[in-house]
Each structure stands twice: as C-alpha cells, then as structure tokens.
C-alpha cells in the first residue's frame, strides 16, 4: 500500500523557538532543541522524522516562515 512520507527543513538560525509549530503538528514530529541558536532561541527541529506526513501545518503557522516541507508517496 502506498504511504505518504514527509520531511521538513527548518532554518534553525532564523527560528525564534515560539513552539507554535510543535503544538500544531498532528504527528508529534517536532520538538524544541535543548541547544540554542545564534539568537539564543531553543530552535524547532524534527525530533521524530519518521512520523512526518508532510501536511505542512507547521509551516503554515510558523510566523517567521522558516519551515520548508517535502512530501512523497512510498511503497
């Protein structure tokens, strides 16, 4: 059966660690890092990448537009 797999690329240096994407993700893919970026923010990253379905909800709510989303069908 064909399944949909997604992947996100986050511009972590531009992320402000607001966490809005983390709580929006329906598959708990994202989390805030323990490390901080150059601005001192705990940036968002894909903590559970296998779970991503490429729905783009995280990117749609990101105030800073730092998330890019990819999606493909896998057998």
């Amino acid at each position: 059966m064909a399944k949909v797999k997604g992947a996100v690329v986050i511009d972590t240096e531009k992320c402000k660690g607001c966490e809005v994407c983390v709580v929006t993700c329906p598959t708990q893919t994202l989390a805030l890092s323990h490390e901080v970026n150059g601005k001192g923010y705990n940036y968002s990253y894909s903590a559970n990448p296998e779970a991503c379905i490429g729905c783009a909800n995280c990117a749609v709510v990101c105030p800073d537009g730092v998330i890019t989303v990819y999606k493909m069908k896998v057998e």
Binding site: K3, K5, G6, A7, V9, K14, K16, G17, C18, E19, V20, V23, T24, Y41, S46, P49, E50, C52, G54, C55, A56, N57, A59, V60, V61, C62, P63, D64, G65, V66, I67, T68, V69, Y70, K71, M72, V74, E75
Partner: protein, 259 residues
C-alpha cells in the same frame, strides 16, 4: 519498505510548502510567536498566487507592523498613525488598476484612526483593510486599546478594564458591517493551520471583490501579543481562544448579496 531517510524526500519535485517569494529574506523583528508574522506571510502568499506583486500597493500603519515594508517585496507607503485608509483612498483613486490594502493594528485602526476607518468604509472605497486585533497597543508597551477586553489588565488598566470608567470593547468589524460601503466583512485567525487557510480564502475573495469594484473589504484577524500579554506564545494563543474569540467571534459578518 526501504530504510527511511528524510534525505530521499527532500528533493525539489517533492516540495509542498516553501516561504512565499513575495517575502524578502529579512528576519522579521516581531517577538516569537507574534501573529503579525503569520498575517504577513499569508498575505504574501495570496499576492504571489494571484500574481499581484507588480500591481499591489500596501499602506503600512504605526504600531509593531510599522516596518512591514521591509518584509513584503511590493510597493508600500507608510502612513501617519491611523491615517492608512485615507492614504489608501488617494492611492486607489489615482491608480484604480492597483490592488490596494491597508494593514493596521487596533490602536491604529480603532483609536487614533477611527474617523478614517469609519468614513473610508462609509464611502465604500475599493480597498482592503486588513485589521490585526491583539487587544492592546503592542509597540508602545501594552497600553489599553479600544479593543481591550473587559477585565483585561494592561499597563494603563492595571486593575483590568472596567466598563463604567473605560467603556466596553469596540467591535470594529460589526460596526463597519453596518455601513453601506462595505461589501465584505469577516473575522479570521492565524494561530492554527486551519485558521491560516481560511484567512487565505478570505483574502482571495477580497482580491476578487476589489477587482470588481464592489466596495470596501474589511478583514479582521484576531491575534495575539505574547510579550505584552506576558505569556508564552502557546499560552497566549490558548488565552486568545478562551477570551478573545467569545468577544470577537470568528466568521463572516457581511458578504456580498448572492454570495
């Protein structure tokens, strides 16, 4: 199934979402989680998808979004505090082929600019007014705005807004919907993916109605101000749902006849 590797997915042909090309690469100065960023992004996407980049003129307000012209790669003009609808009136009348919008906070639109807002809507100028209501004066340190909720604490209502001495929240969208010049009045949000997608649809309708010279479109975005509300962005969005939405219910308030 082969071993999962996100690198196999991250290829141009699999792209489903990227930042709009109408946004510049400047980092927005907004506080983390501020709805202004999401509202800018959504508007930029609509301008890109409707191929309006070269014929849009935006009027920026005074308030946190005063520097909006640094973030959208379109023609923009800064107005004096509250006067964006007056300036937009002039721009649209001189250049009726342009897509003209104002972007205004609640202090800008509902306090110092009340007269411009009401009369522009009453005249039915063919512009879009995009109103971001966060219930407070964000830029200047969280003073009470006409939209501040009853009981809500601000730096100038430290014990909470009291109707007897400070009046009740002014519901601008409901007010302008009563005026004959408005053709479309709606209230939207930007803190969830569904909310952003609905705002996008509303913005596209506003483009269509402006193309048809149907009158003023007024889109309110009920938004947040985590910094002055003194909450994390996630807590601010929850507080907004529980407190702002009952006072400012989402949805269409006025739609053109036959829609």
């Amino acid at each position: 199934m082969a071993e999962f590797n996100p690198k196999d997915i991250i290829k141009p042909e699999n792209l489903v979402y990227r930042k709009s090309k109408v946004l510049t690469d400047n980092v927005m100065h907004y506080c983390p989680g501020c709805g202004h960023g999401t509202a800018h992004r959504t508007l930029a996407e609509v301008i890109e998808e409707e191929e309006l980049q070269s014929r849009t003129i935006g009027i920026t307000p005074v308030g946190c979004s005063v520097l909006m012209y640094n973030y959208l790669d379109i023609d923009m003009q800064e107005a004096a505090h509250g006067r964006a609808p007056a300036l937009a009136t002039a721009v649209k009348r001189l250049m009726p082929d342009r897509f003209v919008f104002t972007y205004q906070g609640d202090g800008d639109l509902a306090a110092i600019g009340t007269a411009e807002t009401i009369h522009t809507c009453n005249r039915g100028e063919n512009i879009l007014i995009l109103f971001v209501n966060n219930g407070i004066y964000g830029m200047t340190g969280g003073q009470m705005a006409p939209t501040t909720l009853l009981g809500m604490k601000s730096s100038t209502s430290p014990y909470g807004r009291d109707a007897a001495t400070m009046g009740s929240p002014v519901k601008m969208a409901d007010l302008v919907a009563l005026l004959p010049g408005t053709c479309y009045v709606t209230r939207q949000s930007v803190h969830t993916a569904a909310g952003v997608r609905k705002l996008k649809k509303a913005l596209k309708k506003a483009v269509e109605y402006q193309n048809k010279n149907m009158g003023t479109c007024f889109i309110e975005v009920v938004s947040n101000c985590p910094s002055n509300w003194k909450m994390t962005p996630v807590a601010a969005n929850k507080w907004m749902e529980e407190n702002m939405f009952p006072a400012y219910p989402l949805g269409d308030i006025k739609v053109p006849a036959g829609e």
